[in-house]
């Protein structure tokens, strides 16, 4: 009996073609990885969402079980503590990201196109970024501590007496200084990489046309650097919104609640008071706020499509 392998292949090919009309092959091939990714990424978030709707306490378990949006009402919408933490966070983010961006850009300009200077100076400038977060907090705590810290000692020599950690404003400023010290190098390295990748021709054309160095930077360099700056600022905003180790090491949220941030109160309520349900509702809210910020940043043009 004659076989018809060609006919079978044709039928198989037709079937595959029909299937592809329904589910494109690329989706079929990607599906296992996509499902795995969704599982490992979304599952913790979904579990956090579930916890946030319960009254789960580490020691007592669940008393009433699912309490719906009660945690969101009491611990997010109506909580002065949470609002205060958000305000502290907002002030912190605005100040540190602004200073880090300006300082980082200025330092990058100083090193741009100067390989010899970069070779010797860059490693030193980048060092703070590699120090552990808690070590940075401890180091700055001792530097600002009354009686033993070098900062109050030096300031007192010029007649300025500040009790950094007893004053609500200066306590937050001390944390900001520590963060600026640690993360300005991150901005520097991103900006420097961006500057080094810029084409030389537009700059040369501007200089030939008589533009001063400042005008070249303002009218040529900065516009071309905008996508890099936007990404760097966005990354720092997201990171700064999670500030925690420095608060833990330097002030524990005090004096009063002057340096409490979102991450700190989630930690305090979740791990010290054991109210994981309440802490989860605050964590979910903080996550949604950061995602909302991303959305606003994206659609306002801060993160243009060609950046990603």
């Amino acid at each position: 009996m004659a076989t018809d392998p060609g006919g079978s292949r044709e039928r198989a090919s037709r079937t595959l073609g029909d299937l592809q009309e329904v589910v494109p092959l690329r989706w079929t091939l990607v599906a296992p990885a996509a499902l795995l990714l969704a599982f490992v990424t979304l599952l913790p978030i979904l579990y956090l969402g579930y916890l946030s709707a319960t009254d789960f306490n580490v020691l007592r378990g669940m008393t009433e079980g699912v309490v719906g949006v009660q945690n969101y009402t009491s611990a997010v919408l109506e909580s002065d503590e949470f609002h205060n933490a958000l305000w502290n966070m907002a002030v912190f983010i605005v100040v540190v990201v602004t200073v880090q961006t300006v300082l980082g850009f200025l330092l990058a300009l100083l090193l741009w196109g100067r390989p010899k200077r970069r070779k010797y100076v860059l490693p030193v400038l980048l060092t703070p970024m590699f120090v552990s977060w808690v070590a940075v907090g401890l180091m700055f705590r001792f530097m600002f501590e009354d009686g033993i810290g070098i900062v109050p000692l030096l300031l007192s020599q010029v007649g300025v007496n500040i009790s950094w950690f007893s004053d609500p404003t200066y306590a937050l400023v001390a944390i900001m200084i520590a963060d600026i010290w640690e993360w300005t190098p991150f901005m520097l390295i991103l900006f420097l990489a961006g500057l080094e990748s810029l084409p030389e021709e537009p700059h040369e054309a501007a200089r030939v046309n008589g533009a001063s160095r400042l005008e070249v930077i303002k009218d040529v360099t900065l516009p071309m650097m905008f996508p890099v700056v936007a990404v760097a600022v966005f990354i720092r905003i997201v990171e700064a919104s999670k500030v925690f180790p420095k608060v833990l090491a330097m002030t524990e949220g005090g004096p009063g609640s002057a340096t409490e941030t979102g991450s700190w109160i989630v930690y305090k309520i979740g791990f010290r008071f054991n109210d994981l349900g309440v802490a989860a509702s605050q964590a979910v809210s903080l996550t949604l706020m950061v995602l909302g910020l991303l959305y606003v940043f994206y659609w306002s043009g801060g993160l243009q499509k060609d950046v990603f």
Binding site: N57, V58, L59, R60, G61, E145, D146, G147, P152, N161, S163, W164, F165, S166, D167, P168, A171, T251, E252, G253, G254, P255, G256, S257, A258, K268, F271, R272, F273, N274
Partner: protein, 480 residues
């Protein structure tokens, strides 16, 4: 004995996770309150019957013979202990070699900082089976642990023990940490009542006292009777010495540090968070709280060194130990180190402990407890170890090695008192007038939040009245 590095988690190498039942057989079924409450009875009947009959009056060394627990009766190879890395715990950790020699059971101590110890303890008692057999439990946690039935009730075990005698423990200490709502959950281990320490050498210095009297028209006193008089005295001394010696070094650090210390002043004014029945009554003592806070702020701002508004006990200890402070209100265990530092840094500097102003200090204590989620074998070994650690000899040796007393018999012991008369002579009197710092669930949250409000008032971020009102609301919410 081995001690794991800080941060290491003790490993569990024991039998199947199980809970004690009335019949003494291990069950993997879910726990119920009744089952827990009867567990101790089962333990004494099945696991520990006759185990402690060989002891004398509790004043001897606890050897296997004394406990009637032969080494081969302990069916475990090791006991894992969770503790905060502070003096008393470390002393016992070092002494645990003797337990190993006597019982052939390795004792692994894992020590963390305070917050990590609390997190680890909470997580482990909530797990299917705890990695730790014995946990050091702070006053603040007992109410929550008891409410969650996370610890093994000890009444029946104590009833069958010739070593652990509840009447031998300072009543206020036992009340604050061991007993909660009719059940005994832990055995007091070392107490951290906040006593008032005064520079005895300056009190005895005629020239210093005469100058004080001539400038302010009153005697320089120790053990000042009222909170306001204490505040006046601290401000006067700072003024008199031009800030060379500050009248007081207090802790203004936000949270429990500020709260713990302030509680002594608040109670000295007659205030309390709860009444005898455990009902929240902080709001009834609003005026006393305001007055205590005003005095507390005055002491720190005018009688204390710059920056002490953010200090915790290390800074206070360091300041007084340098000889720069006349008095302090601090966890009494730290006066040992302050005196050591004073003897190095000054000619005759000495701190002596007295009653707090108003005579009602905040009484707190650490204790030893057994997680409820242990197998019978592990729980039996844990109880044996706790008894061993609480024998007279061990308690006495711990104090002589730097620990703090919790029992009458050790405070009656001449050798103990003579080892540190400046601190231990007045201790019983100090504690007897005190009040428990946390005799209710949600204590850590209540005290932390109240301390945050006090710190805000101290830093000028809130008026004293607003801070106290917010504190009252926070404390009463936490107690619900």
């Amino acid at each position: 004995m081995t001690r794991s590095e800080s941060g290491d988690r003790a490993s569990s190498t024991h039998s199947e996770p199980a809970r004690w039942t009335l019949t003494g057989t291990a069950s993997t079924a879910g726990p119920s309150r009744r089952r827990f409450l009867t567990a101790a009875g089962a333990a004494s009947v099945i696991g520990l019957a006759g185990c402690v009959g060989g002891g004398d009056d509790g004043s001897g060394s606890v050897s296997p013979d004394d406990l009637d627990v032969a080494p081969d009766e302990l069916e475990v190879d090791e006991i894992n202990v969770l503790a905060e890395g502070v003096a008393d715990n470390l002393v016992l950790a070092e002494m645990s070699d003797r337990f190993e020699d006597e019982y052939g059971v390795t004792v692994n101590w894992t020590d963390f900082g305070y917050e990590q110890t609390q997190e680890e303890a909470s997580n482990q008692v909530a797990a299917d089976e705890s990695a730790y057999d014995v946990m050091t439990i702070d006053t603040y946690w007992v109410g929550d642990f008891a409410l969650g039935e996370n610890l093994l009730p000890l009444d029946s075990l104590i009833g069958g023990s010739d070593v652990v005698d509840s009447d031998n423990y300072l009543e206020e200490v036992w009340d604050t940490v061991a007993h909660f709502e009719g059940t005994t959950w832990t055995i007091p281990f070392w107490q951290w009542t906040l006593g008032a320490g005064y520079r005895e050498d300056l009190l005895q210095d005629d020239e210093f006292a005469a100058q004080y009297e001539s400038e302010f028209g009153e005697d320089l006193q120790s053990g000042t009777e009222s909170v306001s008089a204490y505040a006046d005295m601290t401000v006067n001394i700072t003024e008199m010495t031009g800030g060379d010696v500050h009248g007081a070094a207090l802790m203004g650090q936000s949270g429990t540090k500020a709260n713990d210390q302030w509680l002594g002043l608040f109670q000295g004014k007659g205030g309390t968070f709860i009444d005898e029945e455990g009902n929240p009554v902080y709001g009834d003592y609003r005026q006393e709280a305001i007055e205590a806070t005003e005095d507390w702020i005055r002491i720190i701002h005018e009688g204390g060194p710059d920056g002490s508004g953010s200090w915790g006990f290390p800074e206070v200890s360091e300041h007084v130990g340098r000889g720069d402070g006349f008095s302090a209100i601090n966890y009494n265990i730290f006066y040992v180190n302050m005196n050591n530092a004073l003897s190095e840094n000054t000619e005759n500097g000495q701190i002596k402990q007295y009653d707090t102003p108003g005579g009602s200090p905040a009484v707190g204590s650490w204790s030893l407890g057994i997680p409820a989620n242990l197998s019978e074998e592990r729980a039996q070994a844990a109880w044996t170890y706790i008894q061993w650690a609480n024998s007279f000899e061990m308690r006495k040796q711990r104090i002589l090695n730097g620990g703090s007393p919790v029992c009458y018999d050790t405070l009656d012991d001449d050798e103990v008192v003579e080892s540190n008369p400046l601190l231990w002579e007045n201790l019983e009197e100090l504690i007897t007038g005190g009040k428990s710092i946390s005799k209710y669930p949600g204590a850590l949250q209540a005290n932390t939040r109240n301390g945050e409000e006090l710190s805000a008032a101290l830093a000028g971020g809130k008026s004293v009245e607003d801070a106290i009102d917010a504190g009252i609301e926070a404390v009463e919410n936490a107690m619900e």
